[in-house]
Symmetry: C2
Subunit: 433 residues, 2 copies
């Protein structure tokens, strides 16, 4: 009996809460989720200032322009103005400099010209408030600047810096332990003995976790000895916020993994057969005094990474306090048939995605779709969601879970603006020879 993906996800995600919070300096808080709202202690900007280089003046003095005004002084950014603007006068002002008393507008320098010693000619009438940034224009004192649950992106860190915040309360970032089991795994540098393979799941999962901004702990390969594995996991459960392994989770497995996980979780592991392909077998439980989540992923390399996307990453993002736990699921169009056989499962095909001239996503198979063919996963930017049935013809709409957003082939920015793509016509990618 296969479990629908939505139910399997609910079993995992429904029970998880964000970790506790910690205070961090701004410079360490990038990508974290705010644990408490931040209120502006004062207006930003805190004083009226000029948005342009030019002349601070009284708007009423420019009625009937062109007019000639007396230059009373200069105010630079960072200075307090030392001369007010009196009727018929103007003060030269730089961008960001405080507006002198008496002034209510700025004429940009491009609309002025010198008119003798200490005199400036203003070409056009300037409306009141022109090029003035008023106090609180960006943020008002007492305003909630950022709410609990918001992600601290670079711009929001800039906002916090601008109001003098130096530390923020953020949700802890989960530390994730990853181990492998299986006596077939070889770590020797030399040629492989018959039956032995190299461990690719652990390096791939560790890299995936790091790319997704989780902290990682490499627990290595644990030999197929129940006592050894159990002790290692109990120790790791005291340090880590989640544990991930792959392999040994299938129904027929005589592996120690299921036995050990059942034991260390106190029999709480849910061993599921999920209605998806790849990544049908999946185990989930809680472990240790802090009841950290424990993920048993399938052993095939593609399956383990797909299982990561569907279960582990959303769960870890929930621990990290994120409201959005899934990668973006975008609308794409198949550029070739994506055939499959009906089997009661949703298929997640590894696909290349290219941005087409019209900005839509064109989707093709990234190569071999068997669950041991990791090469196709490496070439893919996304996972196409292909519902049960006989697959999709070319030109069909398809939902794509976008995994590698930065490396989508397609027009560069310049080409998107309707001119030849100078950015990619140059020396191109690849290293210097």
């Amino acid at each position: 009996m296969l479990l629908p993906l939505a139910e399997a996800r609910e079993r995992v995600l429904g029970s998880l809460e964000p970790l506790s919070t910690e205070r961090l300096p701004l410079a360490d808080a990038r990508g974290r989720v705010l644990g408490a709202e931040v209120v502006a202690p004062g207006d930003v900007p805190s004083f009226p200032n000029s948005a342009m280089d030019g002349y601070a003046l009284r708007a009423e003095d420019t009625i009937g322009a062109p007019v000639v005004l007396e230059v009373l002084g200069t105010v630079l950014a960072g200075q307090a103005p030392n001369v007010p603007v009196t009727p018929g006068g103007a003060v030269r002002i730089m961008t960001g400099a405080p507006l002198p008393a008496g002034a209510d507008a700025v004429c940009m320098v491009e609309l002025t010209e010198p008119a003798g010693p200490d005199r400036v000619r203003i070409a056009r009438a300037v409306p009141p408030g022109e090029h003035v940034r008023w106090p609180g224009d960006d943020l008002r004192a007492g305003q909630v600047v950022l709410r609990a649950g918001e992600v601290l992106n670079p711009a929001s860190l800039g906002v916090l810096a601008s109001i003098g915040v130096r530390e923020v309360e953020v949700v802890r970032r989960p530390l994730v332990g990853v181990w492998s089991t299986g006596d077939e795994l070889s770590e020797d540098p030399g040629p492989l003995a018959v039956g032995r393979i190299r461990d690719s799941n652990r390096p791939a999962l560790l890299a995936r976790l790091a790319a997704d901004d989780f902290a990682t702990l490499d627990l290595g390969i644990l030999r197929d000895d129940e006592a050894v594995v159990a002790r290692a996991l109990r120790e790791a459960a005291e340090r880590c916020d989640a544990l991930v392994t792959s392999g040994g989770v299938s129904v027929g497995d005589r592996d120690v993994v299921r036995l050990v996980l059942d034991e260390v979780s106190g029999g709480e592991m849910a061993w599921m057969q999920v209605a998806i392909k790849p990544a049908k077998p999946f185990g989930f439980g809680r472990l240790g005094s802090r009841r950290i989540p424990l993920f048993g992923l399938p052993g095939n390399p593609v399956s383990s990474l797909v299982s990561y996307e569907l279960f582990v990453r959303p769960a870890l993002r929930r621990l990290a306090g994120h409201a959005r736990v899934d990668r973006p699921v975008l609308a794409g169009v198949t550029e070739e048939p994506l055939p499959r056989r009906p089997d009661g499962k949703v298929h997640f095909l590894r696909v290349t995605c290219r941005i087409r001239a019209d900005g839509t996503l064109g989707v093709r198979s990234a190569g071999g779709q068997a669950s041991h063919q990791l090469h196709g996963m490496a070439a893919a930017q996304g996972l196409a969601v292909v519902p049960d049935g006989t697959g999709l013809p070319a030109g069909a709409p398809v939902s794509v879970l976008l995994v590698e957003a930065d490396d989508l082939p397609g027009p560069g920015l310049t080409e998107s603006l309707g001119v030849p793509d100078l950015a990619s016509a140059g020396s191109g990618g690849g290293p210097r020879r």
Copy 2:
């Protein structure tokens, strides 16, 4: 005279080449660009093995199934088979275990049942090759596994691990120095004096660079003293692969920034007025014996981050060897009017992007669009490209430079599958209370 964006980008990107390469252990190579192709030293898998738990057998013995075969032994993953499959016989086999000599197919365990001591009943005829992974099925010996210029994502690191590669030659990651100038910048924790502001550009740029996987060096605030700034930059140029500052680059500025950059670059700075809003002023030059790129960004906080997206990030990605230098530019639809005034410039509006039920991107203004209103940038997931004119009505197609792909609001994966979104119906985001 304003310079079209495409020409300004060509001045920057056209002259840059990828950095030299270095050898790194796999675990440190995530996100790097390969400097040399990698060839598979042997087949992957290296031996025929089973894709299922079940029985290895001779397909011809199953003609006319159900049939009963003699169980000759068991082979586990990691073992060399110690018994061949002879006519009328079968060997119990686990997923990944080597196929014994004589066998040419595997019957999955679900289609078998015990039939007395050492006997198994095979329910259906098994075609030759069924559930067998042949040597070279994923990768063939001598095959180019990854080409120079490819990005090492987690799956490709898994592929390299699977073929026993432990070190790779990759393009160096640029080390980027960031400094601020301006006597108006305060680092004091207390209240601000009139005219003083806090430095938000440097923390925002440092976070942005780190989020984009560049290495950073915080050069701090350099006081407005030409000799001090020049010495600091010359020193930094020996360590860094690129230098970034913001502020003091406008036409009217009396700042030392332009003077110093002109001096240290040997007069090679190009001071541009680009036909974009925000981020019109922009300076670019080369510095030091290695002629590292030097970026002078505008001082307004929004402008500096937009300038980063349009010039600095693409340039640094070129240094890092990436073929795709721009963020994805996707097709979106305006969900409200995005008005603007004609001014001969392309506008990059800060917008929220949500994934709609049909998988398309819905686009709205993220708040105040003035260049000092960083709050809007913090709330934005993208920059909408609005060409010169009076703006866009609601419901219009619009190109969006997607900056924060992971935090797009929209249906979760489960909801995208056509069932209620259990993932976001649970405990939700935000920290534990």
